[in-house]
Structure formats: structure tokens, C-alpha cells
């Protein structure tokens, strides 16, 4: 077995819950980072991270060891985020508070305007384009790996990354950056698809 997680996965598949808890411990930070970048909200990212692990446990029987467990877990977590239906009120609340939450743990430094704009721009992207950016840019996956996670072709990932970068450049370039809404709005947005 090539993957270091495979032994734990095998134990999970045989009903060992403690083995799954060890997998959670190992991958919890990665999943939290992913769900945070997909939602822009600390509270929602915690809920979604928990939901992702519960979903992974339910589906662990379908995992085959020819894939890396972390890639498979990425896929489960991304789809939990993509399928997450947020109503307008939640969306507005999340986007309005996201910049504040980013710096909640960094009270010693003043909120960085550039990071706020970047997070707001990221939240303005359609969900699938945001997922492509999060996977390739933040998590360093290749387009081929991201395609496996997102269950689409490599070309589709490349297109989504290209389209997302084009929009982000436009939104983050001054003076356009000043027009970025910090509380949602606009046609493109949080969990609308392309």
C-alpha cells in the first residue's frame, strides 16, 4: 500500500472508529482551511468541516486504495461545500463578516486591506471557479489532480482557473478594488455556479 493513510482507512472500512478519529486528527487542518476558503466564514467552515468528515465516514466503504486518501477527502470536502445551499441572509452575513473573521486571531496587527479585498474577491467568484483556485493556488494541486477532485476534465479546470484569475485581476486592480462589495451583491457571487 503506497499511501501512509491506507492502513488506517482499511481499519475504518472494518468498522474501527478510533482509526477514523486518527484520520480526522491528521487531516483536520487541511479540511478546515479548504472549507474556510470556500465559505469565507469561520463558523460555517467549522460546520462544513465536520459535515465533510461525517460524509467521508459514511462513504469510506467506496474508497479504493489506488487513489490517495487525502485527494479523496479533498473531493468529499469540496463537494460538501459546493452542495451547500446558503440562503441570501446567510450569504450576506458571511460575506460582511468574513474579513473581520480572518483577522480575529491576529489582533496584534491592524487588518490588512489587501487581504480583505482578496478574500472578498474570492467570495465573489462562482463556487466552482473558487474551488479551482483554492485547490490549485492555495493547496498546490496540479490541474490534473484538481480535475480528479472536482470530477471534471483537466481542460475544464484550466478554463475555470483562467476565468477566475481574469476576474480576480480585474477586481483586485485599483481603482476597481475599491468597488468590491464586502457584503455581497452583484450577479456573480458566493454559491452561484458558472
Amino acid at each position: 500500500m503506497a499511501d501512509a493513510d491506507d492502513d488506517l482507512v482499511l481499519q475504518c472500512q472494518n468498522g474501527n472508529v478510533a482509526a477514523f478519529e486518527m484520520l480526522v486528527r491528521k487531516h483536520q487542518q487541511m479540511v478546515h482551511a479548504l472549507t474556510f476558503r470556500m465559505t469565507g466564514s469561520v463558523a460555517d467552515s467549522e460546520d462544513l468541516a465536520q459535515e465533510a468528515f461525517i460524509r467521508a465516514y459514511d462513504q469510506i466503504g467506496s474508497f479504493r486504495s489506488h487513489a490517495k486518501f487525502s485527494t479523496w477527502l479533498y473531493s468529499v470536502a469540496v463537494h460538501v461545500c459546493l452542495n451547500w445551499r446558503r440562503d441570501e441572509a446567510r450569504r450576506f452575513r458571511a460575506e460582511a463578516s468574513c474579513a473581520e473573521e480572518i483577522f480575529a486571531g491576529h489582533s496584534e496587527s491592524a487588518p490588512n486591506e489587501m487581504a480583505q479585498q482578496a478574500q472578498a474577491a474570492l467570495m465573489k467568484l462562482p463556487a466552482r471557479q473558487r474551488a479551482a483556485i483554492v485547490l490549485t493556488l492555495y493547496d498546490g494541486l496540479s490541474h490534473a489532480e484538481a480535475a480528479k477532485v472536482l470530477h471534471c476534465s483537466e481542460t475544464t479546470v484550466s478554463w475555470r482557473v483562467f476565468a477566475a484569475k481574469r476576474k480576480l485581476k480585474r477586481w483586485l486592480t485599483t481603482p476597481m478594488a475599491r468597488e468590491l462589495p464586502m457584503n455581497g451583491g452583484g450577479k456573480e457571487g458566493a454559491f452561484e455556479h458558472e
Partner: protein, 119 residues
């Protein structure tokens, strides 16, 4: 407008990535990371059991009742037709015995079986 376009085209991928990477994931306390796996574990059995119950008896019940209904409908609709076929077959055997080697044509219509008998 021209200035905007120039600014947009001036931003490189590297600059964009630097800006995006300036967004940091909020740090959590050690306590949170310690508690989280146990919190997930406490949630594991509840939905799994519910789903298992649902997936075990619901489809079986649906398929079973559907199959039973289909059988009843099939018996009710085919029963009389099969009886008629058996009746026609008996009549044909009887008439074939009455006219050996003389039955040339037979057909069924609303009046029953019709024969063409040669001399």
C-alpha cells in the same frame, strides 16, 4: 478607462497569487484541534444508523409491493385471455378430428374461430 485597462493588464499571475495568499486561515486554539476529532466521532453513528435503516427496508418494501401489484395486475388481465385460448384450442382439436386433412385455413374474429374446409 484606459488607465484601468493598463492596470489590469499590468497585474501578473505572481502579483495576483501574492495578493490571494495574503488571506490567512484563522488560527484555532490547541483545544479546538484536540476536541474536534471527538466531536466528529460523536456524530458518526447517528446519521449512519438512520441512513442504514432507511436504505435497508425502504427499497425492499418499495420493490416488493411494486412486484406484488404487478403480479396481481398481470394475473387479472391475462387470466380470461388464457382461458379463451385454451377453449379455442380444444375446439380446434375437435374440428380437426371431424375433418381430417381438410382444414385449409383458420382465423379468429369477433365471432370466434372460422375454418375453411376443402371438399
Amino acid at each position: 478607462m484606459v488607465e484601468e485597462r493598463r492596470a489590469r493588464s499590468n497585474m501578473s499571475d505572481f502579483e495576483l497569487e501574492s495578493k490571494l495568499k495574503s488571506v490567512r486561515v484563522p488560527e484555532k486554539t490547541d483545544g479546538y484541534w484536540e476536541d474536534f476529532p471527538a466531536r466528529v466521532r460523536s456524530q458518526l453513528h447517528r446519521p449512519a444508523v438512520m441512513e442504514q435503516t432507511r436504505t435497508h427496508w425502504m427499497p425492499q418494501w418499495a420493490w416488493g409491493s411494486g412486484l406484488a401489484t404487478a403480479c396481481v395486475i398481470l394475473c387479472l388481465s391475462l387470466g380470461p385471455a388464457l382461458q379463451n385460448v385454451a377453449k379455442d384450442e380444444r375446439a380446434l382439436q375437435r374440428d380437426a378430428a371431424r375433418f381430417p386433412h381438410q382444414l385449409h385455413l383458420l382465423m379468429a374474429d369477433e365471432h370466434g374461430m372460422q375454418y375453411l374446409v376443402s371438399e
